[in-house]
Symmetry: C2
Amino acid sequence: MRASRFFISTLKDAPSDAEIVSHQLMMRAGMIKRLGSGIYTYMPTGLRVIRKVEAIIREEMNKAGAIELLMPLVQPAELWQETGRWEKMGPELMRVKDRHGREFAIQPTSEEVITDVVRGEIKSYRQLPLNFYHIQTKFRDERRPRFGLMRGREFTMKDAYSFDRDLAGMQASYKVMFDAYTAIFTRFGLKFRAVAADNGAIGGTGSHEFHVIASTGEDAIVYCPTSDYAANMEAAEAMPLAAERAGAKQDLVKVATPGTTKCETVAELLKIDLKQTVKSIALTVERELEGKVTKENWLLLLRGDHELNEIKVGKVPGLSNHRFATEDEIREAYGTIPGYLGPIGARQPVRVVADRTVANMTDYVCGANEEGFHLTGANWGRDAAEPEVADLRNVVEGDASPDGKGVLAIERGIEVGHVFQLGTAYSEAMKASFLDENGKPAPLQMGCYGIGVTRILGAAIEQNFDDKGIIWPTSIAPFELVLCPMNYDRSEMVREETDKLYASLVEAGVDVIIDDRGLRPGAMFADWELIGVPYRVVVGERGLKEGNLEYQGRRDTEATAVPVAGMVDFIKGKLAQ
Amino acid sequence: MRASRFFISTLKDAPSDAEIVSHQLMMRAGMIKRLGSGIYTYMPTGLRVIRKVEAIIREEMNKAGAIELLMPLVQPAELWQETGRWEKMGPELMRVKDRHGREFAIQPTSEEVITDVVRGEIKSYRQLPLNFYHIQTKFRDERRPRFGLMRGREFTMKDAYSFDRDLAGMQASYKVMFDAYTAIFTRFGLKFRAVAADNGAIGGTGSHEFHVIASTGEDAIVYCPTSDYAANMEAAEAMPLAAERAGAKQDLVKVATPGTTKCETVAELLKIDLKQTVKSIALTVERELEGKVTKENWLLLLRGDHELNEIKVGKVPGLSNHRFATEDEIREAYGTIPGYLGPIGARQPVRVVADRTVANMTDYVCGANEEGFHLTGANWGRDAAEPEVADLRNVVEGDASPDGKGVLAIERGIEVGHVFQLGTAYSEAMKASFLDENGKPAPLQMGCYGIGVTRILGAAIEQNFDDKGIIWPTSIAPFELVLCPMNYDRSEMVREETDKLYASLVEAGVDVIIDDRGLRPGAMFADWELIGVPYRVVVGERGLKEGNLEYQGRRDTEATAVPVAGMVDFIKGKLAQ
């Protein structure tokens, strides 16, 4: 490729609405252009990266036995109504009516359509397993699109769907996809981590997220450096901080804490460690029984320095359908205002659930269920009935790893892939069944597997940039190498050597661009550093006279002289690394 | 590829709603699956063809200097309002509102978006020329989607847009695209013809359609077998059938023709040649002048056996905004009913426009402007004032070619590509200008160039099929060659030779599939004949014992024995043809 026949358009400054570095750099490098909120044109340089990302995904998916097809973007509402997602998805699902008033969804994902395709095609267990995928434009009408390609509305996704005859088959298909994803992200040249994720209704460990590690990542991911335990914050299991409960040392005392409704301020006032306090969170569960709605009071207890994990709360038996109690409900149940609640002496019956750590605390401080007062020296069994115990909190750095093989660390990640054991949720709703060995119909066991193609670009940049611009991993760089001739138009020697080298590099399979735009060296180098091409070779008269070219890797601080004759092998060596 | 790892699903019968052969065969071959009206899933076999079509387009577009980008599918209404197409496009433009009530179009084409991209990027003539393209899903809410991929609602299109500083530059860009299209359709291996098309408001010869020739084609295309003249029916110029007008021989006579309102029945009644009759078509043009609407009567005259060409009518000065006259208007202007109109003796002033052929007729028969009567022996100048003359009719087979180099032939075609000189229509509406050499702003000269990617599949099949199924041209076939082993599972000899041959073919770059599904020969062959793979090689024990394999091309009536050792070269030879 010659730069004069390509379209390069860089900017000194990023537009003011670009909040994060990947968005800023992609705008400055001319890789994307905003068309509307969360909607971007992929400019030629950006599209080249997307195509390389897609090619790697396609190769590995095919290698893993998945079969590519292409499902439509505009999908009939009827299919979405079969699974109930037409209602459930809310305003994120972009809906459209055709000229006859029929309703359609612009696809955010394709579970319904692939299940419809498969239920028309699969009759027998002999046709299984099957795994179909497509790489297609998606639309999600995000409430607040932001961060460029990281949370856009229109984006490209690879989504795959596996179909198996039984659970074991589905788990085998899942493993194949997990391994394919590992191969894909490895080939991208990105630091990534697969973490166990919450699996919603299905349970088990049937869901993993793939995160690109970046300090700017939206998500906290948890791992154990001395074992292979890894999970996202929603799913990471929090162990009790003390394995057993110690004996009580203090008496229960009511102390005045006027205007002190937070654990932090209570600890300050009482001059105690925050870790000695217990935070109380009141929930209400409404149940309908024979047409009558009854309310249950639930109280969750966390150590003062811990954070509630709402996903875990939803998994406590009886709490799948909870909400936070209103101030009126709190007053009625506990006889006080928020900030002074506790497990001792509520006015109405309350189901108390203590986090595992709280369950093993002694002599703790909690609200007295009386405005302006807390209790110190509180102890389970003696002062309060033994609570129900559950894992309710987010883990923190240094917690014991649930596999018992070390302590947990936390880092930031950007979710770019998700593999998920769906089970029979969609196949049952859509009556997608097959005949098993005994001729009996059974619902298909499904898995689904997504990769955010365009999001990969943002994530790769968040992980790889410096003050000059982007630093693409070679496998997904818009070009692997830029040839920068000095005075290409005026020096015959430079032009000849550049063209010769270019031809040799192309023949060797290197994805190379010649910058023949006639820019001065400073401007030329700045463009390519901003765009993030991994290798640069400068062809200049001075060097040529000594038989040399100047090579510089994008992360190198200075250039290296490389003999003209050896340059192609030198680059092939770099690419083979 | 192994068939056991691919998805093949053929049908004995096509669904009853598949009206044309390409639709029927694609459904039967399992290449597409209907999701909704005019909306199809491209199944794995169909997608392989699409990808090959796209790859050829991409290669030739890049070679021609066009630069690929990717514009969004969901496009803000504001851009479409700038050009007025938001209103003009009518219900074919699929419109959608986001959660904030903002309006968007699902792209049917991207003139507005590319012009918006370019007006933000192009400042100077130095940046020109430029040609951007993308290959993207389109949606057009057709009133009556039909014919499978031929007139679908969701489809894939390649659309390119060129930007130049002046008319000459635009025409040069147009020529480059015209040549690229010729290269593309040649590589597809399809019989095609580029024909001049009507250019709407812009005029000149700045528009060509590319048609795949097929007897089932929707469009009539006109060409001269002895010259390079070719045009579509709308644009083909009709020459007068007589170069000069002969002298009058008959007197004007009013004859009774009760209940005879068609030229055919008048000719029958009067026992004359239909070619001696003239058909009259009454139009009304309404003009608003200073708030007052006035009506003009126009009468178009065609020879009795000729067809009106409405595009040509719209180009007659004064008729850009016409409509057919109502029966009341006809009664008022001509004093009679439709079927008895003529250029002689109307009640009100009428502007008469005669087709070129009619203008040179003598002693013709026309309506008498009196119910139940026609005139015979009518002559221009003597009986009627000399009319305005224009080309108003469709050409017919045997007409003189407008280039004077032979006579015209007509064949049927399927439009699969269109190149179009847009001029400054979009750039002026959207204020997309650049600074010329003198620093003066000038609007960009644009061209646009489309190829219906998915439509190519339908068109290729309409041109290439037999009673067994599809016959793909090699360059766009889902697979180039199918290896059909006999008893692959049971004969070690067959399995070994098949696997060895497969490996050699893959190494030689042949796109080959092994049918290892274990079907009986008849069913196996029928599948691949239906799917339309161009080359088949059967590996069987009997042949192997004589050192032979059986080759059969998809159009061959019988198989040829080819020595095992020579098969790869034999196939390479076929592919090189």
